[in-house]
Every structure is written in structure tokens, then in C-alpha cells.
Symmetry: D2
Subunit: 450 residues, 4 copies
């Protein structure tokens, strides 16, 4: 479909929001709203506003030709305003783009696109939340190994893992909705940010224009203070990073030697051109790739210089980077949603992995059982020695423990069994799952998801 | 002082907050608070907590030796916990670090350092705000050229420029204080995030521990979901970018050919080893360099992978990157404050630059005066022609305009004079300055700055 | 044209090289060459190779449909090989993609595209060199201010400035041609890099395949060792940075207050939607924006993880990033070429700027004249004092110097005049221009440019 | 030791090379060599050169005080030249730093440090090569699973894996030595790059100075064309990425469920503050973290703007970034060397993992055996079906194959056994190992390693 953004790494819906056609459409929305706001404020004749608004229909414009001209003109606003003026014609044509500057219309159009893009991402994130919440509930008691530094550490439940994903994604939905409320803003300042061409009516027009577009009126024009856009970029980038976290975990769980979770095998999905047995976690890998691409764009946006009253280079690059950032992040989000939907969990394999290495991951539990009497350091020493013996002689930790005099002096065989039961060493896992689910319900009701 | 961070690009106060000694001090604060919280919750004996807390004094530890051992151990927590246990000794020693994992103490200590770092940045930003507010007021009527794409565009006032810096910096102070309230959080989950070693007391201990440290208790442990740290990094990076914006404008204003603003010339400042006449804007340049270095660290933090229940590589790099990010950003902030304090404004030069090129930057004003009768497109065409004639024949725009039949047909000579008076074409500049000052007063009172 | 890459920031020629259609075309070139190489090596029947090669014509394939399927399959190779097999049919169809893996064909196709892309960039860079060489020659004696830290420093010539751009761009052309020779390479290893499916014929086939495609045979397959691609990305990124350097200088020279160089004003170029007088340096700004976008992609490529024998995420993102990197860099190169072609140099303004500030930039020259007798430190002190007096009392440095007893004690008025003549203080400028031109001639003849 | 760079992520040797003391030492080396070169060229008196060189001893200077002053002065050169002048005193003192600019001495000193840093890295990389070559030889026949997208793909040998690491690291040693020869260069141009203060003697002095320091004389001064430094940064960053590749593979191999390779367990290494059984791959993780930090610095260097004849901000940040880049990369290199030295390979586990999942990874081999008769596509279809049956009914691929009518129609039971023997399906693995070893020998002899 597009050349710059491979369809593998975005979604049609997000690609549409940041398509050239949509940008022109939103620029026209600005011009129509500007004319109405100025008429309201008495700055231009009312019938001029009507005539202008009537022509602000993207279907009337040759979007490709406008973009082509923009390369020479340096900005899309120049050919668009010229074409719109021509179309409106007559007296009314005189009032097109009245008092505005190129950057006013381009930045505001971008903000309108961003608002749509954020809504799309938030909706998709809430769907991921629903999948995670479901996994958290269903696997509340599904034992698996918790892994730190990619080594088995302690038992957890898959429900807890899903609950942490859930909490992570809820926070992303929340922060994106914050940006939607607080960083999306009207741009309107005229050529140098003084609204000079509107005389004393500037702020009144700005208020009306903000109202027309349903955008917040910012404290001041922000042509060269791009912190709002940077905050949005950072938030979207963090969402991509969150997708990377989940997808990365899924790829690791799907390893042949781990084998605990698999993407739903659809026909034609995840095969290999050479290896018939392959079931590659295609969606997770796609999410990782898309998230990488998205994250690469964040610094382009947040480190852009913007000299004096309008930047020379930084600003011009920003809108390209923002569009790609939304596109790739949407791709990452869609891929994670797809990977989670119909995720196959192999509970038996999770349990079997937990018992690998003779139950060594219950070492902390055993140490804590001893620590009540021996103290934490001595208990750790004793258990470490038992672990070493187990590894060296191929015993399980249970065998090594039952064989250890120091341990037997403190714990009965039944105590040892209890200390080595993963299901009995889950601490607050359940309560933490509940906290995540509560947080999810809160965000759903705040966002009025039915 | 340090090798990694040149003293030119940070401040002693921020360097101290992120010094190894301070990190150990905050780790000990965690261990003391943990012991108290666990005693409170009945998880360990009360007198053990007293004995442990008594030893949690950084002066008792060899910080350099601990860091040296950390290189082998893989984490600072291991030698620190061992040393603390040894110092506490006896029965109480058994309860050191009870139920916690390395990452709990390291992440929480980092969060305590981050909180201090944010407070420092916010305080310094408010001082910059005070300088900007003063400049905005004092130069409310100081005319200068507004510049877009580094070309003169329209007249503005230096007060408005300062007001936009002010609004930008206020927003940074605000967002950093939001991060301080909402992203700084306790880390406490035990080895795999279940708080398993505390049995059913985990969440109670977590609540007490959060209370002891004055840190918010997060929804869930976040060992491998680093969005809070990422949000802080992004916010600090955006602050660095804001410094870059102001410093960049100052360097451009200080250019020999522009000559509108200069840093206060202190003895020994801004000279050259070769050129006796040089008055380099040393602080602004230092701010640009420090901000560049700071911004380079943001992607390191926000794109870090964190596998399963604890990351292998991403997490370990994060704390180094965060510390450097705060150090460099503090350097940028301090440099901008220094550059603004005692900034010399050359009002005459500002005015002279405004009149360069025969007043061409009043072209929009003239066009708007004509547009009421001719319409915007025709007015622009007429003025563009006058500009071209002025440039070609070395006339001022005023001369070219008074000489132009079409213009004379619409505007009287007095109208032309009025249209070419920069002071009369400032639109809402004054009102916008007021908005910025109001915003500043609001943030000051919200932050209870006297 | 495309959605991801705005046409403002690339060129049609480079966009075509990295278009989806071209990728498929190069994949088919690989499949055809593979079949021939295998037939040569006796691994498959000769007539199968003929039949396969006959179908390797991109016009026979629905490129969009292949890309669409790739999203599900996880790689473009799967649908392409399936379609090609279907087209070839019969006995020959059995030998399509024999012994190869998806990544072999995709990486090799990318390398073929990269080779074309490098050739295009090198050719365009040599055109920039020609423009710079011409400027260096023509402006060998055009005096202007050299500027350090954006302050006037010493006189230089515009010829020297152009010579430094020339040397910079020559080095880029050279390093890109090195990458073309040394980093572009065949990828061929089979599913796990052993060429297992070819039995003992693997390396023979690899050699023939490399020969067929005119690509170097690398030491080993490199599916997950991406240093070659990283080196190419770094080289292309450095080219973008070089464009940024030149474009940045041009934007600074074009500032209203500097006014020394302007882009050729074409109709419809560089205007403003609000300000009739504007002559924005549109190409330079476009180059800066494109270069920023290009540079943002370098870290995505060079920091990609690639696990074990084929990466999960890093590799998949790489080809998107590489394509965008070439596209944006081509945009930057084209824009700089356009900006330099027909660049208007205002020699009078250069000279006038040199005399601004009373000739203070001749201070070092005066100090060196004094230093022979006073020594460098004392001479600097004396001149610094004269500079300060000049600034304070509005004198020129000449007036201040002729008025200074210490100076008069050492230098006659004629000596002072000589010391303050910029044309007499150019040191090795001429010789350095010659060195740059020599270097350029050397690279031209090495590359056999007529 | 230092605050900015944690000792965990660098080495003492590299920290020393980029310590402030060493920078001052190299600056003094420049000043001494400059005086000698100028005396040689007749530009200053011979005894002045002797006197200056005699004072160019870092032990005579208060390095901390110089750095402190640099913060105000804007550059270290100013206080250093002043102090050196004071120390030399008398007539000779007049000739200190004659004709040079701050950036000449700072850039050249940095280049001297870089040269030392490159030598250190190259030496360490060759040690890694030696470890890899040893592993490649010793494990030439050690069967293991090749893994693509983290799924088992085909059998390889651990020797081949090590051979690919070897080839990768050889290429890094080679490219760093290329940078050492071709990108390290003298900086010498005087205040604006014209060598004006040396009259017509500039290039002669430059040649002599280059000779004195053993540094190549570049085509032109390069104060604001930083492509040499960027090329070095990119090369060092690619080395860090190579370390990340190896360390990443090691962490994955060390996973509890994979268990194929372990770092040498030293006392106090890789434990956990909570889990007694933990054997964390501490060096590999340290390498990953250090490499991440290193890679984060590459864009800071290669995207730095440098305006006109000396940059304002980009240049000042560069040297900080370069120093950190070398430090962190050295840390990554040292950690990988440490991880490989004494690496424990579990051959039995490698073999056992290969047989997991019923030998499914031999599917391609079986398909190729069938393909001779059935053709590749039909053979793949048949094997895919057998794989599915095996997975569904818990059979091994061998059992499923022997049970399959279509397979039996083509292959005898002995043929099937042969097709499923991993040791018989290694293709060119051996020859590829030989190629890597040859490459290694070539680079050793080129670098004259005994």
C-alpha cells in the first residue's frame, strides 16, 4: 500500500489517519473553522465564512498535486491556501486563511490527526487489557517459573504475569488519554505569534476557533516550543515499549525449550520457507519490530531544535516522524492484541519447567523456612550448600534437603515438603492480581467502556 | 571531580544526589525502613528492627569497596546486604533485608534519588521562570524582529519572546512536579514479584514501607515494567530540550551580525585562546552541549527491554543512564539560568535590525491594510511586487509603497505610515505576555513559592 | 506518492530503488541466479534452472498481494516462493528456492537494492562536489568573516568555506564507495547457516551464486551478525550529517541580518502564506529536515539485537529502517545540490559584515603583529584592552589601535593598517583550497568521472 | 572511582585513557610538539621550543583546578595555555600556543586519546578472537540446535556458532584498526582554519607537527567537519553491538530451560540477595548493559551540528560522548572476554535439547531427502503433515515418518534414519569453521600478533 511504511508494521486504520488525504482534510477543517470563528468575532463578513466553509471539502482538491507543489513551496499550506482561494473566488476568496500563518493550519491539522490517532490507540489498548484481564483471571492458579535475568527464580502464576501486563497496559491507556486531554491543543498565532493581522481581535478569534474545533486553547502559541508534541511522542513511544515488553515475553515463552505459550496457529501463519516444522510467533516478532521502529522516532521528535519564532528543519521533520511513530505503534499494538487473542497456554509444560533442575527454584522458600530459626544469612548459606550438592550429584533439592543434617535439625520432612511446594510459596500473588483487575475496572469505568 | 561527567556540564548539587555515596545512603534508608515496616507488621522482632536501623548509616560503609565488589557480584545489593548483616550481627542480623530482593532496594534507592533530583530541577526552573518573567515585563515594549526559518518575519517584542520562554519553562516545572507526584514509587516485590518470602504479610509490609519512606505504593511491583522510570526520563529530557530552545535563541541573538543579547561578561568568561575580541556566549553553549548529552540518554532509558520478572541488561544500564540524564539536565538548567541572569539586551540594535532591509518585515502589515479592500490574495500580490521592486532598486518598502499606484489608490500616505509602524502591528503581544505571567503566578502559588 | 515518506524528503529515483516492486524484483533476481548457480554446480537439473529463471519476472507477480500475505506469513519469501513455484510448475517447480532460506533471498535482495542506492548517492555527491569546487575556485579571493561559536573570529574566504564543504563531501563519496566494495555481500547460508540442504555442494553453489549476482562472497553467512548492514547505515547517516552541515551553514548565511548567500529564487519557492517579503531557504531547510529523519534511523539499525541464528524483531525492523534511511538521505543530498546550484553570493555584504563592529575580528592579526616583540600573552592583553576601549567608546579597532601608546611604541601606522587588512591575514587559505581541489580531482579520477 | 561511569561498565585501563589527567597530558604533548615544529620551521626561536617543551609535564599542573576554570572559560585550553605560559615565563613564554587555537589542542589531544583507546580495544578484541577460535576448534563436532526466531531450526555445531562470533569479532578488530590508520588525524588550523597567525609557514608547521605527534596530516583542518570522529564513534559503537550479540546469545544459552553454556562460576559471582540457587550470567549481562550505554552515545556524536568554522554546542558535547563511548565499549569487551574465558559448555544438554520435541528440527532434512523425488513443495507438504501428526499424537518425527505411507514409498527405514541424523545434516559447517579460522589467522598475522 505505502512504500515508506510496510503494511506489516502498521494498521489500515492508523495509516488512514496519517495519510496525506487526511492531513489535507484536517487543514480544510481548520480553514473552515477559522472563517466561522472570524465571522463570529466580526473580523470577516459572515457570508465570506459560509462561502469558504462550503469549499473546505477534501474531495474538491488534488491531494497528490498539492504535496508535489509543497516540495518547492516548502510547505503544504501555500498551495492549499492558493487553491482554496481560487475555488472560493469573488469577495469571499479575499478572506481565506485570514490572519493565519502556514504553521497554524499545519500544526492544528496535525493535532486533529493526533487526537484521532490517540483515540485509536487507546481503544486498541483497552482491548489488550481485556485479553490480559481474562488471562489473569483464568490463570490465577496456573503455576509457572518466575524468571529473573532469564534464570528461574521463584514460582509465580501465569495469572500474575498477565496481571502485570494488564497493569502496564492500563497505565499506557491512561497516559495516552491524559495526553489527549492536556497536550493536544490549537495552534494559532499568525506569522510571528502575535496574531498581528487580527489587530485586537486575535485572542477572541483564537477562543472561537478553539471552540469550533473542540480543541483546547493553549496559554500561548507554541510554534517553536514543541513540548506538547514531544510529550505526545514520548507517551506513544512508551506505549510501543510496553508492547515490546509483552511481545518479548511471549517470544521467550514460545522458545522450543520453554514451550509455555504459543500464538494461535492460523493457516499460512508463522511457517518457514525452509523448515516444515516451524511455528514462529509471527505476531510477537512483528510487534517487536514495529516497536523498535516506533521507539527510533521518539528522539527525532523530542530533540528537535526550533529556532526563534519558527524552526528551520526541526519542525519540518517533526510531522513526518510523528506520523511514522503513530503508524508503527499502531502496528505494535495490533500485533500484541493479535498474539494475545487465542494465546495457547501449555499449563503442563509450565509445571514441568517448574520442576526442572530438581526444584532448585524453591531454594528461597526453603531458606526462608530455615531463616526463622537460623537467621537469613545462615539459612542462605545452608541452602546454597544443599543446592550445590544437588547440582553436583544430580539430586533434586528435595533429596538434598532431606539428606542434610542442618536442615533436618530444624525442619521435619513434612516441613521440607511444604517449603518445596510451589503452590504454597506464592505470597501475595493473588492479592496483586486483584489489584491489577481493580485498576482495570477503574480505568474502564473512567473511560466509560461498557 | 568525576571522570564520566565533566564538571562543565552538571552542577555540584546534582552530582552529589547521584553520587555513589548517596546511592548507598538511600539503599540503607530502604533497609532501615524495611526493618521498621516489618517489625510494625509483626514479620520480624521489634528489637531486630531497632538494631538494623541503627547500622543503616552510610558513614559506616566503604562505598568504593562496595562498588568494586558489585562488579563481580552483578549488583550492589549483595555486598551491601552482606556488610550490613555483618555489622548488625547477632539475632537481629538474621532479619536484614528480610523478604526483599536486590532490585527492591536498588530501584527504591534510585527513586529516592530521583525525587531529590526532581526537586532540585524544579527549584532551578522556577528561578529561570523568575528571570523570564522579569524580562517579559521589562521588555513588554521593546520592539524586535520576529524570525521564522531564521528570516525576519514580523515585529514582536522581546517581552513576548521572554514570555514564551516563561510559559515553556513553567510547563516543564509543572510536568516535573507531576512526575514527582505520580511516577516516583516504591519498589517492593521480592525475588519474583510475589512477596512470597513474607507469606501473607506482603502487602501490609509494602504499605508500611511506603509510609516509612514517604513514597507512593504502586499498583503492583514493577521490576520489569519500567514505564514510570521512562516517563521520568522523558520528562527530564523534555526539560533539557526546553533549555536547548532558550540557549539556542540566545546564541543566535548573540551573533556578531545580530548583536541583540549578550551574556553578562564575567572576568575570565567567554574569551578565546587566540582571538582577543571574543565574547563567546559560554553559558548558552554549555547549555546546548549539556542538553544534547541529556537528550542522548532518553532513548537508552525508554527503549530498554526487561525480560520476564527481571531484565538482563536493560535494567542494569538504566540507572547509569538516569543518573547521567539528571546530571546533564541540571547542567543545562544551571547554564540557562546563568545566561539569563544579567543578560544584556541591546534595544537599539533590536530596533536597528528591525529597520534593516528597508522595513520589509512590515510587508504583511501593509498587505493586511490593503486586504480590507483588495482581499488577501490580491493584497499579497501587490505587496510582493512592491517588495521585489524595493529589493531590486535598493528602496525601502515605505518608498516603494508610496510610489505604487495600486497602493496609493487604497491607502493615504498616513495610512501607509501607520501600516509600516512596527509598534502598531503587535496584535495580541501584550495580552499574550499577560497570559504567560498569569500562568507563572498560578504555578508559583501552586508550588507555594513565596 | 507514498504515505510513509513524504515526497518533500526523498527523490523519485531513490524511492523507486526502495519501492516494494523493486524488492520483489531483486528477490526474483536471487531466485533466478540461485537456480543457475545450482545447475552449474550440479545440484539441480539444468533445464529446471532455465524454467525457473524464465519465471523470475516481477511483471508476472502481484506485488501488493505478496506484501499483504507477508504480514501473516511473517516474511515476504513465503508467498513469493509459493507463487514462483506455482508459476514454474512441473518438474522444474520442485527446485525453486532449493536449499535456501527466507532470509537468504531477502537479505540478498536488500543488498542489491543497497548497491543501487549507494551508486545513486555517490553520483549525487559528486555533483555536489562539482558545485563546491566551482565555488571554491570562483570565490578564492572573496573575503568573508570566519565564525566560531557563531561569533566573528577571523577573516576567511568564501572559497575556503566551499573548499571545506568540498573535502567533506569528497570524503563521503569515498566512504560510500568503500562500503559498496566491502560491505555489500551475498547472503546465503540456508535455514541455520550451514547450507545443510545442499550437502557438500554448499560453498560451491555459494561461489557461483555470488558470481551470478556480481556480489562478493562473504567469509561466512551473516544472518545474525549485521555489522555489514550497520556499517552501511552508519556511512549513509554520516552522509546525511554532512548534508546537514552544509545546509545549516547556508541557513545561517541566509539570515536577514547576515545576508551573504541565498538560494536561487525559483517561482513558487520559499514564499510564505502570510508574509509577502519572505525568501525562505527552502532547499536548505528541506535538507536539514531530511537529514534529521535519516540520522534518527541509524541507531535503529546499528543497535538491533539478532538472537542466535536469526533475530526475532531486530532483523525484521532493519530493512524498513534501511530503506527509509536511504530515502531521506537521498532527499537531503538532492536538496543540498539544489541549494548550491545557482547559489547567490553577496560579496559586498560579506565584505560589509567583515567591517562590522569596527573590524574587531582583526584583533588576532594585530596581536600577532605585536607578539613578535611583546610575546603572545602581553600582545593579547594589549589588544584585548584596545578592543574593550573600542567597544566602549564606539571606535573602530583601527582608531583604538592608532590611539594606543603601547601599540604605537611597537607598530607604525602603516604596520597597523597592514595588520588590520583582512586580505593580508588569510594564512594558508589558498593552499588549503588547492589541497581540497586536488583531493577532488583524485576522487574523480579514481571513480572515473569524466 | 568515578561517578559518571560506574566501574561495573568500564575497565581501569580505558578509564585511565579518558581520565581528565590524560587529556591534559595529551594537550601538553601537543603544545610541546607545536613548539618544536615551529622552531623547526623557523617560526619561533629554537630555545623557546626547548623551554616550552620542558614545562609540558602534566605533573606540574593542577588538573582539577584547570577543569574547574574551564567551566567558566568555556574551554580547557584557556586556563591551560595561561598556566603553561606562566610556567615557561620569560622570552620563551611569549611563544606558547603560537598560532594555534583552543580547538587545535583539544581535538588533537582527543585524537591521541582515541588512538590509545583504539589500541586497547583492538588488543582485547584479539583476545576474544583467541577464545572464540579455541571454542570453534574444540567444538567442531559438538552438535546443538540452530535457532531462528528463537525456535529450533536445524542442527548446527557449537563450533560453528563460535566461528561466527569469531568472524564477527575479527571484522571489528579490522575496522577499528582501519579507523586508527585513517580517521585519527591531527587538528591544526588556527582560529578560523586558515593558519593565519603563521603567515605563509602554516602548512610547513602543520606537516612538522603531524610528524612530531606521529599523526596523519589531514587534507584540511576539520574543526566543524566531524566525519572522522563520527566514523570512529560508529566503529566503536558497532564493536559494542558485536559484544551485545555474543553476550545476548550467552544469556539465552544460559537460561534454566536451555542450560547449554554457563559462565565460569567464580566465588562471589552471579548470586542473588534472595535466591540461593542463582547462577546469573553476570558478565554477559554486564556486557549487554555496557553495550546499551555505548550504543546510546553514537547518535550524540554522529548527529552533532557544527556551525560555520566552529560549532556552538555540538562540538562541546562530542568529547564527553566519545569518552563515555570508549569507556562503556571497553566494559562490554572486557565482560565478553571474561564470559568466554572458562565458559562451561554442557554438550550433553545441547544434544538433549536437539532431541526435544521428537526431533522436529530434522524436518528440513527429511524434506530434502524426499525432495529429490517429490520436489521441494510436495516434500515440504508431506513433512509438514508428518510434523503435525507427531505434535498432535506425541510421537517423534521418526515414528511419524516411518508410519507415513508417502514417505515409506520414497525412503527406506534406513534412509529415514539417515535423514534424521543431525550429525549427517551439517552441510558446510566444517568448511565455514575453517574459513573463520583462516580469517582469524590472516588478521593475526596482519596485526603481527605472535
Amino acid at each position: 500500500m505505502t512504500e515508506g511504511v510496510d503494511t506489516r508494521f502498521t494498521t489500515p486504520a492508523m495509516a488512514a489517519i496519517f495519510a496525506p488525504e487526511r492531513h489535507v482534510r484536517q487543514m480544510l477543517a481548520f480553514e473552515a473553522a477559522l472563517a466561522r470563528a472570524e465571522a463570529d468575532a466580526g473580523a470577516i463578513p459572515a457570508d465570506a465564512a459560509v462561502a469558504i466553509a462550503a469549499c473546505c471539502d477534501v474531495a474538491l482538491f488534488d491531494v497528490a498535486a498539492l504535496h508535489h507543489e509543497a516540495a518547492t513551496a516548502g510547505t503544504l499550506a501555500i498551495p492549499l491556501v492558493r487553491e482554496l482561494t481560487r475555488r472560493v473566488g469573488g469577495e469571499a476568496g479575499k478572506y481565506v486563511h485570514w490572519g493565519a500563518t502556514s504553521q497554524d493550519v499545519i500544526d492544528t491539522a496535525l493535532m486533529l490527526q493526533i487526537r484521532e490517532g490517540l483515540d485509536l490507540l487507546i481503544g486498541d489498548l483497552l482491548q489488550i487489557c481485556a485479553e490480559c484481564a481474562d488471562l489473569a483471571e483464568r490463570h490465577r492458579r496456573t503455576l509457572m517459573a518466575g524468571r529473573t535475568l532469564l534464570q528461574q527464580a521463584l514460582p509465580i502464576t501465569f495469572g500474575l504475569k498477565a496481571a502485570r501486563w494488564l497493569a502496564l497496559v492500563c497505565r499506557q491507556a491512561h497516559q495516552l488519554s491524559e495526553r489527549r486531554e492536556r497536550s493536544v491543543a490549537l495552534q494559532f498565532g499568525g506569522a510571528a505569534g502575535t496574531l498581528a493581522a487580527l489587530g485586537s481581535a486575535g485572542i477572541l478569534v483564537a477562543e472561537r476557533l478553539a471552540g469550533e474545533l473542540g480543541l483546547p486553547l493553549p496559554d500561548l502559541p507554541w510554534h517553536s516550543e514543541r513540548d506538547r508534541v514531544a510529550a505526545i511522542a514520548a507517551a506513544v513511544g512508551m506505549t510501543a515499549a510496553a508492547m515490546s515488553k509483552i511481545a518479548g515475553d511471549l517470544v521467550l515463552l514460545a522458545q522450543t525449550e520453554v514451550g509455555e505459550a504459543f500464538e494461535d496457529p492460523a493457516p499460512g501463519k508463522g511457517g518457514s520457507s525452509a523448515m516444515p516444522q516451524k511455528r514462529n510467533p509471527v505476531d510477537s516478532i512483528g510487534a517487536l519490530a514495529a516497536a523498535r521502529l516506533a521507539l527510533g522516532l521518539v528522539p527525532v521528535v523530542i530533540s528537535a531544535e526550533n529556532e526563534h519564532e519558527r524552526g528551520a528543519g526541526g519542525w519540518q521533520a517533526e510531522s513526518i516522524a510523528i506520523a511514522d511513530l503513530f503508524r508503527f505503534t499502531a502496528g505494535a499494538v495490533a500485533r500484541v492484541r493479535q498474539a494475545l487473542r487465542g494465546l495457547r497456554i501449555d499449563e503442563a509444560r509450565m509445571r514441568a519447567n517448574l520442576d526442572r533442575d530438581g526444584g532448585l527454584l524453591m531454594a528461597e522458600s526453603l531458606a526462608m523456612a530455615l531463616a526463622v530459626q537460623l537467621g537469613r544469612p545462615e539459612a542462605q548459606r545452608v541452602v546454597q550448600a544443599a543446592c550445590s550438592r544437588a547440582v553436583a550429584s544430580g539430586l533434586t533439592l528435595r533429596e538434598a534437603a532431606l539428606d542434610d543434617e542442618q536442615i533436618r535439625a530444624v525442619l521435619s520432612p513434612a516441613d521440607v515438603e511444604r517449603a518445596l511446594d510451589p503452590a504454597a510459596y506464592l505470597g501475595s500473588a493473588d492479592a496483586l492480581i486483584d489489584r491489577a483487575l481493580e485498576g482495570y475496572r477503574a480505568i474502564r469505568s473512567a473511560m466509560e467502556v461498557p
